[in-house]
Symmetry: C2
Subunit: 322 residues, 2 copies
DNA sequence: ATGAAAGCGCTAACAC
DNA sequence: GTGTTAGCGCTTTCAT
């Protein structure tokens, strides 16, 4: 590991000058001669300098660790997020500390721990309903100098850079695809309001109506019955692969193969979805990319650079059930 | 964050003495008065001291980071592992750096990077076939003072503490369950030799035979045909839920509901398996626990304490397909 | 058995 | 614009 002292020696300047050039902290960039800066930057690159976050943050009285709070699900979405976050964090030279929890109580604990540990920043994906109390906790953390970016959460109650998914778009994509497949009747098993609304809106644009069912065991039976009775092409959209998988089996048991007259489309592209027979058409959410972006934004914030919110577009994966 | 200086003050001793007591490094434990040690230990506990790994390892010229190499799969197994590792690492005060890769080439790169970064230890789950060359790489890393524990890998070629799964036992559990259910004919779609062997061995003990099929699309058709033709109770064991899910759908399409005459049991308990209809009976592997154990062992090794290998027992999850 | 002092790599305050 | 100096929390000689 090459260190500042070696670059200082190689470039002929003192350690602090090198530090000022190479330190990502922008508020002290002003007072360096352009040529000096250029030379140092170049030698650093040539010698493959990587900052020692350890020493950097020891000095700052902080931990060079990105804390991450994710819902405790053992599915592909979480795996994707973990991969994206890990990849980007590694690239920036930050290690990570993951907590997997789902309740607000544990969220509060996470925030407290992270404050005590003086982690340099956090990425959180609160799965619970973010209410006034939660919003206050978040605001408090940030007002005390805490750095934070949110993933996939309701963002109306607080002001924190956010990386989310465009659920409304996902719903529209699903409707569009089912329309293309020539469906004449539509059903949605709901779960996430925005997806439902996107789905319904797109159908409405096409002059179509749709049956909305809540996520209950009853709904599955009702949907299967409706499919059996109707002779028309039916398009079913479930707002999670979990539900699609269940319906997939139920339809087969009722003698209907998804993809023939009855079309079925899920959401999430879970690991097993492609292995169903027939394989499930679904909407993929780019959570790996979301994880990368979240880290990039957090690092920006840590070094006092501005960061903006984004919403990522989901993507249709066409397989056999449509 | 309470630091050594505060404990020193509170206990009336100097910082180095406190350090010697509290530092987990065992080779300097000798020269402290028992009463002193006790007093310091107690005050540390009372004041909730947590070591600053940052400062500790800055001094040691290392990074207080556990590197983790995991196969790049977005399934529940990986999620479980990540959760277990994260939980235990957090408990020990170590942050983590995950890499998700599958090839030996990337494994080599990971080992090189981790050496350059001076991470204090690594946990690796090599998914590729570990050959002589890979074994040499591993031995080399360890001989240079690298600390490492292996997860779920072939462990014949090198000497590194290992946390694995008892696949043979998993196969036996599956056979046992199918026998209990009264199956008279048995099929296995193989994938992992130990699981196959455990399955076959248990059946043999019971005086039963079994058809062994490789994992190909052809196998699925052959199995379905055999099920259709036979009038007897059939037990099918696939060595991964992935295959079970496919067969599940194929059986349904052929008019056979898994769980009735034809019994089906998978392996891994993936997230979606419980959501199939009928829900899949499967073998759960305790990867969260494996992750925790791997970290505990690694921390032992980092502080020069001995660590032993273990193999964890998988567990039957009975649902509807048997 | 205990303490004083130095130093890990870096940043920040202050001089020049 | 650049260099000197001190110090983050801890471990490790080296004295005593």
């Amino acid at each position: 590991m090459v260190k500042l002292a070696e670059i200082a020696k190689a470039s002929g300047f003192s350690i602090p000058v090198v530090s000022r050039v190479l330190s990502p902290n922008p508020n002290i960039e002003a007072k360096i001669a352009p040529k000096t800066r250029e030379l140092i930057l170049e030698t650093a690159k040539r010698m493959k300098y990587r900052p020692n976050r350890n020493a950097e943050f020891l000095k700052r009285g902080q931990n060079p660790v990105i804390g991450v709070f994710l819902p405790h699900f053992r599915n592909s979405l979480i795996a994707d997020l973990v991969m994206g976050i890990s990849e980007a964090a590694q690239k920036h030279g930050f290690p990570v500390s993951f907590a997997f929890e789902t309740s607000f109580e544990n969220y509060r604990k996470f925030i407290e721990d992270t404050s005590g540990l003086r982690n340099c920043g956090i990425i959180t994906y609160p799965y619970f309903q973010v209410n006034q109390e939660a919003a206050k906790l978040i605001e408090g953390y940030c007002q005390n100098g805490g750095k934070m970016v949110m993933v996939n959460a309701d963002k109306s109650l607080y002001r924190v850079p956010h990386v989310g998914m465009d659920d409304h778009c996902g719903g529209r994509i699903a409707a569009e695809h089912l329309l293309e497949r020539g469906c004449e009747e539509f059903i949605i098993i709901e779960g996430i309001p925005e997806r439902r609304d996107g789905f319904a809106a797109k159908l409405k644009d096409a002059g179509m109506d749709c049956t909305i069912c809540p996520e209950t065991m009853d709904s599955y039976r009702i949907v299967v019955d409706q499919c059996r009775k109707s002779g028309r092409k039916i398009g079913i959209f479930t707002s999670a692969d979990r539900m699609a998988a269940t319906l997939h089996g139920l339809l087969l048991q009722a003698g209907m193969v998804p993809g023939e007259r009855v079309k079925l489309i899920g959401y999430d592209d879970l690991f097993l979805s492609r292995h169903l027979a027939p394989a499930l058409t679904t909407i993929f959410q780019p959570f790996t990319e979301a994880g990368r972006l979240a880290v990039n934004k957090l690092v920006d914030i840590i070094y006092d650079r501005p960061a903006e919110s984004v919403a990522l577009k989901p993507e249709l994966i066409v397989r056999k059930t449509t």
